[in-house]
């Protein structure tokens, strides 16, 4: 196996960071490496933003389907980027006098509260509708034991959540729904999380053993 400088550096830093969790003497080095990683990630966000602008700029230039949406995206991005800086115009333009500075200024807060949050909430509502449609579509798939178990558990849990109309006797659906959510579902989720944790350790070890090289060669 050919080891290049990038591989040696990546493995060394990974090992020192891992050992930093177990050896107090290496704690400071670990914290420093993580801080550098945080800074690099912040720079990567800016690169990602330019990539987003570049992709949509190309779409506009090529006139590919949906290019008008790309114009909206580019203009929105530039506007949101400009908003925090408008407070500096306060001494010259009275409108921006009490505007404030940084990401918590009046403009940014307005966009976050009345545009981003509103759109995010409406998309979440849309997801509920899509899930109901997907649930219906699920019943048309070939019935396998796992699918039957899933559908039964989902139906009982949903019925258990519905308040009983006055006069109807409680046949124990509420108790059964609660039991499903608190015992088998929690046990299953813990089993899945345990498996995922083992997968995470295996992935990390493969990187440390240079079997996986996501950082290039």
């Amino acid at each position: 196996m050919k080891l290049r400088a990038s591989t040696i550096i990546a493995i060394s830093i990974g090992l020192v960071t891992l050992l930093g969790y177990f050896m107090p003497d290496l704690r400071l080095i670990r914290v420093q490496f993580i801080a550098w990683a945080g800074m690099l990630a912040a720079v990567a966000v800016i690169i990602g933003m330019f990539n987003l602008l570049g992709v949509h700029g190309k779409k506009i230039g090529d006139g590919t389907p949906g290019w008008p949406y790309s114009i909206v995206l580019a203009l929105t991005l530039l506007t949101v980027l400009t908003l925090p800086a408008l407070g500096y115009l306060g001494p010259f333009v009275p409108f921006f006098k009490d505007w404030g500075f940084g990401p918590a200024n009046v403009g940014s807060t307005f966009v976050f509260q009345y545009v981003q949050t509103a759109i995010g909430t409406s998309l979440s509502g849309l997801i509920v509708v899509f899930l109901i449609i997907a649930g219906y579509r699920l019943t048309r798939r070939p019935m396998k034991p796992m699918l039957i178990a899933f559908l039964m558990a989902a139906t009982i849990s949903l019925l258990g959540l519905i308040p009983l109309p006055a006069g109807l006797p409680d046949v124990g659906l509420h108790t059964l729904g609660n039991w499903l959510a608190q015992v088998p579902a929690v046990a299953g989720a813990r089993g899945i999380l345990l498996g995922i944790a083992l997968g995470v350790v295996a992935t990390g070890l493969r990187v440390l053993l240079a079997a996986d090289r996501p950082y290039g060669e």
């Binding site: 969790y21 177990f22 945080g38 690099l40 990630a41 720079v43 990567a44 966000v45 800016i46 690169i47 990602g48 933003m49 990539n51 987003l52 570049g54 992709v55 190309k58 779409k59 590919t64 389907p65 949906g66 949406y69 759109i119 995010g120 998309l123 979440s124 849309l126 997801i127 899509f130 899930l131 449609i133 997907a134 649930g135 579509r137 699920l138 899933f150 989720a189 089993g191 899945i192 999380l193 345990l194 498996g195 995922i196 083992l198 997968g199 995470v200 350790v201 295996a202 992935t203 990390g204 070890l205 493969r206 990187v207 053993l209 079997a211 996986d212 996501p214 950082y215 290039g216 060669e217």
Partner: protein
């Protein structure tokens, strides 16, 4: 004592992986058998359809960020990207990769560049093939709904960290009559994917891509090591419960 458990766990895991690799390499070793995972069995068909129909394969690394708790899931996505983009790169339209994280985008670009370089087709590599679709999970999900139709996508493979925004992608894929193979490291998202995606990976199958697609020795060995460690952890939990009950 308790603080020693974590390093011992990691060292035992690493030793097991190395032992299983060595066992796989020894003379006369039988090919390792792994259980069938339906989603991975259907993957070559999805890639083949993309190549034959002259459409693109869309590979998504999800909305998780490299450098945070979702790093391993993003790495699992990059492994799958490397394996399947080699096959999909011969298509008229090269695969596109989407993510919500700048670091994951840079790593995906590097992975794609290496694949094209290995195929002596670096002139066909386009940096815009790996892109940030949106910088927040919800904007990422919303952007993917148009990506499928705008980019003439034949199938989507999502391997990475994601939350409920994946439903926007899977629903768009249903409308576009394209197949979706999806996996996430979030148990709640796995339930959503089980309902909405054509093929969903459950549990730690997300990390098994390298072992299933290309039978990479270290990936197969890590699967076996995971199985052994799972048994050890399970036994430790049962022993702990028994000990706690007896001493109460």
């Amino acid at each position: 004592m308790a603080e020693l458990l974590a390093p011992v766990f990691v060292v035992v895991f690493a030793i097991l992986m190395i032992v299983f690799v060595a066992l796989g390499w020894r003379k006369g070793a039988r090919p390792t058998a792994v259980r069938d995972i339906e989603a991975f069995l259907s993957l070559p068909t999805t890639v083949g359809q993309a190549v034959e129909t002259g459409k693109r394969l869309h590979i998504s690394l999800g909305s998780g960020a490299v450098g945070e708790v979702n790093t391993a899931a993003a790495f699992a996505g990059l492994t799958v990207l490397e394996q399947i983009s080699a096959a999909a790169a011969v298509s008229d339209k090269p695969p596109i990769v989407t993510t919500a994280d700048g670091t994951a985008m840079l790593l995906a670009q590097d992975t794609l560049r290496q694949v094209y370089q290995q195929q002596n087709a670096l002139n066909r590599y386009d940096t815009a093939s790996a892109r940030v679709a949106g910088l927040s999970p919800m904007s990422f999900g919303a952007a993917l709904t148009t990506t499928l139709s705008d980019e003439s996508v034949a199938g989507t493979v999502l391997i990475g960290s994601a939350t409920e925004e994946v439903v926007l992608l899977t629903e768009a894929a249903q409308r576009a009559h394209t197949t979706t193979l999806a996996a996430s490291d979030n148990p709640a998202t796995q339930a959503l994917l089980y309902v909405t995606a054509d093929s969903a990976l459950v549990g730690e199958d997300l990390f098994a891509g390298g072992a299933y697609i290309s039978r990479l020795p270290m990936h197969v060995a890590s699967l076996h090591a995971q199985d052994v460690m799972r048994l050890l952890v399970g036994a430790a939990i049962i022993l702990g419960v028994v000990a706690s009950t007896v001493t109460r």
